[in-house]
């Protein structure tokens, strides 16, 4: 038996940013960059375990909007175009830097990586979702479902129809994409409020991941801390994030990604070279943004930056992997000496940390997984753990999230609190409509489905997050307002029973997320008590 277990959980998510009517939209680049820098390298890493017979096993969530975008024909073709442009830029950069052997070595690295990305992408016909499904069938990864559009359940959940629709649609989309029912569920932002587990239980979900103090502050003291799961009263298991593990990777001061040998994220030729030269590779308009070509290493806490040395960075990632495994080994040995069962470390991360923010992250993770067996640590998934340890303490976890300060304030503050009055009301209205009209057909059915779609899109946690962070805040406000306005228009058509086919068709074409969405997912729990106090 191993000293203990570690469950790596990579959560992959991007909001739905498909803009069919325009080329080169800035927000679509989020997706393209993530494919090149994160998703393809992570898939390549996992395939490498197969090749080298490494007993690697991790858990991944791919949210429904991300899975939908990855499977979308238009976005796939735009990604191929984007990649072609990136390769063209690599060639031009190779010419431009030919006289400087240190710079040209970095350019050569990017060129190789882009070529590898193209090979990987073509080898699966652009079907990353299919490749994930293959890896899940091969036992390399365990896939988690997630909410329909990454709705933040502790706050939108005041409308139970909306919370339920987020979860139910998320599970439905998982089944549609991966062909099996999910055991685990990724709660967006690890946001949990007591009672949400009942919604998960109703969908057959067996476990979810949560923030540390959700477990530590449970209704009764968790006798294993976060080193074993709890069962909620509904029977769904809750796994708590390990603080030490997340700190070593996330911390800007002490975490690995801040190492001076690693690539500096903020020095990008997109901000440094002549705009005429860059124009074909940037979004249209007077915009400078990241191109992905970054030639410097972090170097130190000054503006002076040395040129990036890939070899040095790679060996540093290997050292950090060794350090991480060494620390986990000590942590698990200590815990094993005081607990009466092998401890489990739950280590969830945003997948996009690896490769995008932390360029060397995939290499680090690969090395960690490869070194675990010699340290007596077994990589495990939460599902496997529950199969081996089905008996666990029952307690109600506490409201929590992995956002700043651990509760709801990231998504509920002055910049974004205005959205909830609209979302809750729309959620309850949608709930009533769905309950009253279960057998709708024709235009009415299409209007109901599109109203459900607009409401789900409006309730993504990304929008209040962006409003708070101040980055592209007006985009986020426009998205919430636009989707809600569309909902209100459709609600009006539905209540007046005067349908405008042209409007419905245009909205369907504009936001074709979840083509087979069943609006009746809103129907349950649709009754809301009146707010006015009965005075008689």
């Amino acid at each position: 038996m191993p000293t203990g277990y570690i469950a790596f959980i990579l959560h992959a998510h991007l909001p739905w940013v498909r803009h069919p009517d325009r080329e080169g939209v800035l927000e679509e680049r989020w997706l393209f960059e993530a494919i090149t820098e994160c998703y393809l390298p992570l898939l390549r890493m996992i395939q490498g375990w197969d090749r080298d017979r490494i007993p690697g096993r991790i858990t991944m969530s791919v949210t429904p909007p991300l899975a939908a975008m990855l499977s979308d024909d238009l976005l796939q073709s735009r990604y191929r175009h984007f990649l072609g442009r990136q390769l063209e830029l690599a060639d031009r950069e190779a010419d431009r830097t030919a006289g400087d052997h240190r710079l040209s070595a970095v350019v050569a690295m990017y060129r190789e990586r882009l070529q590898a990305a193209r090979e990987d992408y073509d080898s699966c016909g652009g079907n990353l979702v299919g490749r994930l499904a293959d890896l899940a069938r091969a036992g390399r990864i365990e896939l988690l479902a997630s909410a329909a559009t990454h709705g933040y359940l502790p706050l939108i959940g005041l409308s139970r129809p909306l919370a339920r629709a987020q979860i139910r649609t998320g599970v439905d989309q998982f089944v549609a994409k991966f062909g099996v029912r999910p055991d685990g569920f990724w709660l967006p932002e690890c946001g949990f409020a007591p009672g949400d587990d009942e919604l998960l239980a109703a969908e057959g979900i067996k476990y979810f991941i949560m923030e540390t103090h959700g477990i530590l502050h449970a209704s009764t003291r968790p006798c294993y801390g976060v080193y074993a799961p709890l069962y909620c009263p509904s029977g769904v298991a809750a796994f708590g994030r390990d603080t030490e593990t997340s700190h070593q990777v996330w911390s800007a001061d002490e975490g690995y990604p801040g190492d001076h040998s690693y690539r500096e994220f903020y020095r990008d030729i997109g901000y440094e070279l002549d705009t005429d030269y860059l124009a074909p590779y940037l979004p249209p308009g007077p915009i400078r943004t990241h191109t992905g070509f970054k030639y410097y290493r972090i170097t130190g806490a000054t503006d002076h930056k040395d040129i990036y040395d890939p070899g040095q960075a790679w060996s540093r990632a290997t050292e950090h992997a060794g350090n991480f495994v060494f620390n986990r080994s000590h942590q698990l040995q200590h815990l094993a000496s005081v607990l009466d069962r092998p401890p489990l470390i739950t280590a969830p991360y945003d997948a996009e940390l690896f490769g995008h923010w932390w360029f060397e992250g995939p290499e680090w993770l690969d090395q960690v997984i490869r070194r675990l067996p010699e340290a007596g640590i077994e990589p495990i998934t939460p599902g496997d753990y529950l199969a081996r340890f089905p008996r666990n303490q029952v307690a109600e976890p506490s409201m929590s999230s992995w956002g700043y300060r651990g509760f709801n304030e990231v998504w509920l503050e002055g910049s974004n609190d205005w959205i909830y009055r609209h979302l809750h009301l729309a959620g309850d209205r949608m709930g009533r409509l769905a309950a009253e009209r279960p057998g709708a057909w024709g235009l009415e059915r299409r209007a109901l489905a599109q109203a459900a779609r607009e409401l789900l899109l409006a309730s993504a946690s990304d929008w209040p997050f962006i409003m708070k962070s101040g980055t592209v805040a007006s985009y986020a406000r426009d998205r919430v307002q636009g989707h809600l306005a569309n909902f209100i228009e459709l609600y009006r058509q539905l209540t007046e029973r005067r349908f405008r086919e042209d409007v419905i068709a245009r909205l369907e074409q504009q936001a074709p997320l979840f083509p087979h969405l069943d609006y009746r997912v809103f129907a349950h729990g649709a009754t809301e008590p009146p707010a006015a106090v009965a005075s008689d």
Binding site: L158, W357, R405, E413, T471, L484
Partner: protein, 237 residues
């Protein structure tokens, strides 16, 4: 109990974008703007000071693209014509409420209370601690529509009402919210006998699990992630 209330902040939305501070650590830039966390209308019920939140800000993206709309961008309605009041939990110490009060509801209350009594009353939010049956009133302009409340009571059930205190001091409830429970800010005192562990071991586990910090807010004051706030990608700071 109105003296318990202290209006600490009525910042208008425009003033919110006051300060931006760039905090450099290593060479990773972690942008952080400091602004009082609860904006708009806040009420402090305990004497706890409002928290200051680190917030990333970055304006590197120049021109922004709008998601295309089919409807001609109608503004969202200020009012929906339905009475409602909702109470939301922000954290163990703070709550947020929003409401809509319709003229019809007022007319009904007026007829029940008597026009003369009702008309000169004050509007209040009444926050009720359902565990201790304690309540606090905060005078508000009902048109404001939302308020932050700071009872500072973790693990407590609350409900709130919008009501009016008539000329005789009688409280006339108009709207009542949903019930909420604030989360704990520390471990529970309860131990499941079947899953008990010695106190000393629990303390060690707790300390280790929570990153070696004592119970309280330090637990989740983790440093921000690299590149925090650039895109929606970075979520778990």
């Amino acid at each position: 109990m109105a003296e318990f209330f202290l209006v600490i902040l009525t910042a208008i939305a425009g003033l919110l974008v006051i300060a931006a501070l760039v905090n450099r650590s290593g060479a990773r830039r972690v942008a952080a703007a400091h602004e009082p966390a609860p904006s708009r209308h806040t009420t402090e019920i305990s004497n706890q000071s409002p928290e200051v939140s680190d917030q990333p800000t970055d304006t590197e993206f120049g021109e922004l693209h709008e998601f295309p709309r089919q409807i001609d961008r109608p503004e969202l309605p200020d009012r929906y014509g339905a009475d409602q009041m909702k109470l939301m939990v922000r954290d163990p110490y703070w709550l947020h409420t929003y409401w809509e009060l319709t003229p019809a509801r007022e007319i009904r209350a007026e007829s029940e209370t008597g026009v003369e009594n009702y008309a000169i009353g004050r509007y209040v939010i009444r926050l009720i601690d359902l565990d201790s049956n304690h309540s606090w009133d905060q005078e508000v302009d009902p048109d404001i529509g939302n308020w932050y409340l700071n009872p500072g009571r973790p693990d407590t059930r609350f409900v709130c009402e919008l009501g009016r205190i008539d000329r005789h001091g009688h409280y006339v409830p108009l709207l009542r919210s949903n019930e909420v429970r604030t989360p704990r800010d520390r471990p529970s005192d309860r131990v499941d006998p079947e899953w008990a562990c010695p106190e000393e071991l629990w303390q060690r586990l707790y300390s280790r699990s929570s990153g070696g910090t004592s119970p309280g807010m330090q637990l989740w004051q983790r440093p921000a992630s690299p590149g925090h706030g650039q895109t929606p990608w970075d979520r778990s700071g």
